[in-house]
Symmetry: C2
Subunit: 454 residues, 2 copies
């Protein structure tokens, strides 16, 4: 037990110099994005109207397994990384399990989550390309916070469309974004056509992520020298997040840790996809037999109950069509659900890997998730994000199985962030007002009905 | 520049095995605490009615320069420590200063501050001595949060009297304490005699730290197997906080960093006293000539405008008399002041060192503090606690002096915590509603009038 430190910190020299591009090693690629008007694959040129050029190049890159991280991004990464791989000695002790448990902790930066890894990269490229303003959306607020930090660092203007109900429930998130100089607009708003339309049709609506995406896209298109950036789902976001997996791999090799199980929470898929990237690459190459588990909320079960189909990424149906596991862009997650992971769709890479049987997906209900989160907080001293606690919950399940079966497995899970700005969710758990919600088959059918037939 | 990493993490083997006891090396000791009834020095036996035995032994220990940290506390410290000593490369770049700036960052744990160092120690000793319940007070909430984390870890019940205005302004702080199982009672409350008395005399009062201390003391005295614990001021708290200074010293020696200036924020003095401990010991021994600066808010200027006198530690005048710099136990800091550092008194050790000329004290106004905090957040990626930003503000002042004079000094400051739970203060800074408040001489005279004449 004494050989492995409580916290494995890589040195700055060990900070990865390359992102790991899963698409370069996948046996079959995800289906291409389609232009909804023509149903033909989107061209780079079309996407470059919306996204920065280099990001579009990365989006299409299925050739290079390793993509070099520019020094200007490594300059930022040295501020927030390497993040620790922590041996969960206290959790193991509490569970009395023979399993060895590790977690890669992405919550040590002020934004409180892994989102900053891609935010830094995207803002750096925007700056390089002479972009002066970025727009985005944020739901739970982690992406908006991360992006505002990156924009403050690289000196770029930022407008964040924040799901209205989040902006109201999380004034502190909004304040942090503003402290970093970002402009926050609760969505739907009257600053866009789509926002005015949604407001007219649904007066008093609390908004949704899909709606905020539509507004951010519209504003980006109408503003000079402006691009839209997205915090999850897309292939280039997963690429940037592969730094999580690369650091984990290097730490494992350094201490001869051989994971049997790797667990991550899945919302849009960037955290999970980033964590597993190099390990999954090796699995595809037949070099390991790791059991990967993606964990999603039972209230928004894209993988476990969704359909693998072409769908829009936003409610306004303005994005390209993406082949992914989806609940339908019209699916409305219960407001009862506390954390993030409320997105109707899923990363095309993660979707394809799941479709091809490379990992297991599980869904868990939120009171179980918070039970695990509080137990973890009390023994490991870290208050986890509700999102991250989905992975944590299943890690505990697996560790208990190890105890029952007398198996000494090595489990790694991604602790993608802290819950410091999600305290209201903990409050509702503490006072017993939190309840579980699982959509009925009828609920799901309503969402599925919004998936385009192509 | 490349030789010193951005973040210096000591290994777990380098985690200090000893606390550094400044009193063992001071040329003159602070005057003893007095029993207010007899005006005779308090005996250990008297203090053991209120505090755990081992803590009282430490409070009286002026003999042992090094006091061993028990394995049961080191077990906890390995969860949260060593904390990083960070080279402020980005801040240096922004300031364009030849100075080398470092900060010891105590905000990486969930409680968000250095307070956890002493909380863990105090709860461990309570557990060892068979105590089953602890009481305390909290103002800004950092101490209450830290203590609830330690109590959850060592499995001890906790009641926190939280200054009512803080409990209302910071529901999230309260929720975190509750998540860790602590019971929060807004003070003044009807659960104590002193609370009922204060409520009767001041209906609608928002409470004060001194009042909350009185309530926690009364409850500890009346509850079986219960002791009171305090998060600052006392000598044993400074002893535990010396782990900050010891780690800083070890990191400096490892990388041959020779500080010219060491800066810390001072409220009750535990953060500053802990950070400077081994360096100040060497200065007393003539082994260095470091310039130490303690920074306090202009709104609560205990050192820079207070009196060095015997005074009570609480508003209810129930504590022993302590020789310290004080504004008078009846001094009421302006509610306008955003952060912590609102205590009327000061650590006796820090007070004595100041009285004997071993360090400089400065006061700064809060809008300047927040200006520094926001600049720091944007370039170093960490949102600092308002308290910690006092030290940060003066570190920036000193670094700018270095630029103006072309001096390459080495500056270390203590970044004692994060501002994640103090966002409302940032909100008031962001929206321009924050103002400065400096007590007039008349205001101070009112406070001084409450200092007992002995």
């Amino acid at each position: 037990m004494a050989n492995i430190p409580y916290k494995i910190y890589l040195t700055e020299k060990e900070l990865p110099q390359y992102w790991y591009n899963l698409k370069a090693v996948m046996k079959e690629l995800p289906d291409p994005m389609l232009n909804p008007a023509t149903l033909k694959p989107c061209t780079k040129e079309e996407l470059k109207q919306v996204f920065c050029s280099e990001l579009v190049e990365q989006e299409f890159n299925a050739k290079d397994k390793y993509i070099e991280i520019p020094e200007g991004i490594r300059d930022f990464y040295r501020m927030i990384r390497p993040s620790p791989l922590i041996r969960a000695y206290y959790l193991e002790r509490m569970l009395n399990t023979p399993a060895e448990i590790y977690y890669k902790f992405e919550g040590t930066n002020t934004s409180g989550s892994h989102k900053l890894n891609s935010a830094a990269a995207q803002v750096f490229y925007a700056k390089e390309e002479g972009i002066t303003t970025l727009t985005t959306e944020t739901g739970a607020g982690q992406w908006g916070t991360a992006l505002s930090m990156a924009c403050a660092f690289y000196n770029i203007d930022l407008t964040v469309y924040m799901v209205k109900v989040s902006a109201e429930q999380k004034p502190y998130r909004k304040a942090v974004i503003e402290t970093y100089g970002g402009k926050v607009i609760p969505s739907p708003s009257d600053t866009t056509e789509i926002g005015r339309k949604i407001l007219a049709e649904n007066p008093g609506t609390g908004g949704s992520l899909g709606c905020a995406i539509s507004e951010a896209l519209e504003t980006a298109a109408k503003t000079e020298n402006c691009r839209y950036v997205l915090g999850s789902v897309l292939d280039h976001v997963l690429l940037h997040q592969s730094i999580i997996g690369e650091e984990t791999r290097i730490a494992c090799e350094k201490y001869d840790i051989k994971p049997d199980i790797i667990i991550g929470s899945v919302g849009g898929g960037s955290n999970f996809g980033g964590l597993i990237a190099p390990f999954m690459g090796d699995k595809i190459a037949g070099k390991n037999n790791i059991h990967f588990i993606g964990v999603e909320p039972a209230s928004c079960p894209s993988l476990t109950r969704g359909r693998y189909a072409y769908d829009f990424g936003d409610t306004g149906k303005t994005t390209p069509l993406i082949k992914m596991y989806t609940l339908g862009s019209g699916f409305m997650p219960s407001p009862n659900h506390a954390g993030g992971l409320r997105y109707h769709g899923m990363s095309p890479i993660v979707s394809k890997l799941y479709h091809d049987g490379y990992f297991e997906a599980r869904s868990v209900e939120q009171t179980r998730v918070f039970e695990a989160a509080v137990a973890f907080a009390r023994c490991e001293g870290i208050l986890p994000a509700p999102e991250s606690s989905h992975a944590l919950c299943v890690a505990i399940d697996e560790a208990i199985k190890c105890r029952e079966r007398g198996e000494k497995k090595t489990i790694i899970f991604g602790l993608s962030g802290t819950g410091y700005f999600d305290i209201s969710a903990y409050m509702s758990y503490n006072n017993g007002s939190m309840s579980d919600y699982v959509p009925t088959d009828e609920d799901l059918e309503k969402g599925f009905a919004t998936i385009p037939r192509i």
